[in-house]
Symmetry: C2
Subunit: 209 residues, 2 copies
DNA sequence: GCAATAATGTAAACAATGTTAACACCGCTG
DNA sequence: CAGCGGTGTTAACATTGTTTACATTATTGC
């Protein structure tokens, strides 16, 4: 007989939609991508399943929103990491430290929120990397620009530099999120990757062969 | 009234189980991970859904088998790539070419079978990389051993070398499978990665700072 | 101010899925 | 050749995503 569960003034949630995304995000963070379902999210939000269809086309779209939300968080996370770098006297070492902070932040996010990270770049197929990861991508480009201005980036490799750096660190982050590496190995490999990337960036680093 | 769909002698399939895994593999290859369902596989195999439960605990296990199957294929694929390298006079360049063939094969598999690749390392959480990718991992270690014997690998980095190489190439492969890079960029970045890895391997390559 | 209307939520059903239980068929072993 | 274990079928069940018809609230135009 259509009895509202919530009393009068709470018939309308007020901000379902955002609340749903947040609930979904937390669900994924704790229990993984497969735990994310319409009915589950509705329950957490204190609402009927059908209500969610006023805010999302279907489950697939909700998943997309969660994925986007995670990419935003990831961007904020690594930016915060970069800003925390204390400025040193040399402009060059500054650029390097800020660049490395991005890589460390990226991997650290994967370590702290493995389930979220695994989901960050789903639903991004067929789109160039620079689009689906707008936030973090911009940060990376800023940092590479800094390196360039300090003369730490060879002109020949400049164009592919962001993709090169991204893919190098991304691979490690994926493995970290899967818990496939011990913490000690994680740090070691990251160190090697960052060193390798910077060496490849450097002018006069004559490509082999 | 329990009328068998297939006539007498075909009441039993003979090799459901393997057939199911193959059907499932092809389904994933063509339509992606989400198209993989018990009922769907049963239909393709010409069998009733419940029949699959004589061979698999549940859908999750079937997925695991498919994932394993893909890892095996990936291993075979990159091994074939390596064997195709024509031996040159210098033992060192030989080792290098064989090593690079592994990386190229890995990325090429991701390009040719993006949906399969995306699924290769699912269900491998919490296990060290050397376990869940046994086949390809062994090939990588063989190759790195060859480099070592040719004096192309610094003792200081030897331990972490396989993980370093893997994660570097893995990141690119993931992006390639997502179609996030143009073909030209793919080749360029792979070139940079392989060069970077080898430079990091090389003795006397004094790590920065 | 207040009726009309849009926005949002509920209840109840539907179709599709994974899964299970009871039964049927086949091939092998005693 | 009787029976038994392995394999497949049927029919049901619980759970999901989704839709439809209805209820409630918020907002807007007069």
């Amino acid at each position: 007989m259509l009895t509202p569960l919530r009393k009068g003034s709470e018939y309308h949630h007020g901000d379902l939609g955002h609340a749903a995304i947040r609930a979904a995000r937390n669900l994924v963070d704790r229990e993984g991508w497969n735990a994310l379902g319409i009915r589950r999210v509705a329950e957490v939000a204190g609402v009927t399943p059908a209500a969610l269809y006023r805010h999302f086309e279907n489950l697939e779209q909700l998943r997309g929103e969660v994925s986007l939300q995670v990419r935003i968080e990831l961007g904020d996370f690594i930016r915060a990491r970069r800003e925390r770098v204390k400025t040193s006297r040399s402009k060059a070492t500054n650029a390097i430290l800020r660049f490395e902070a991005l890589g460390e932040g990226y991997v650290d996010f994967a370590r702290r929120h493995p389930r979220l990270f695994e989901v960050a770049f789903l639903h991004c197929d067929e789109k160039p990397i620079s689009e689906f990861s707008d936030l973090a991508w911009e940060l990376l480009q800023e940092s590479i620009q800094e390196l360039w201005e300090c003369g730490l980036l060879d002109k020949k490799v400049k164009d592919a530099a962001p993709m090169f750096a991204w893919s190098s660190v991304h691979g490690l982050a994926v493995l970290v999120a899967q818990r496939a590496l011990l913490q000690r190995d994680q740090d070691l490999v990251l160190r090697q990757i960052m060193d390798g990337v910077q060496r490849s960036f450097a002018p006069n680093s004559g490509r082999s062969r």
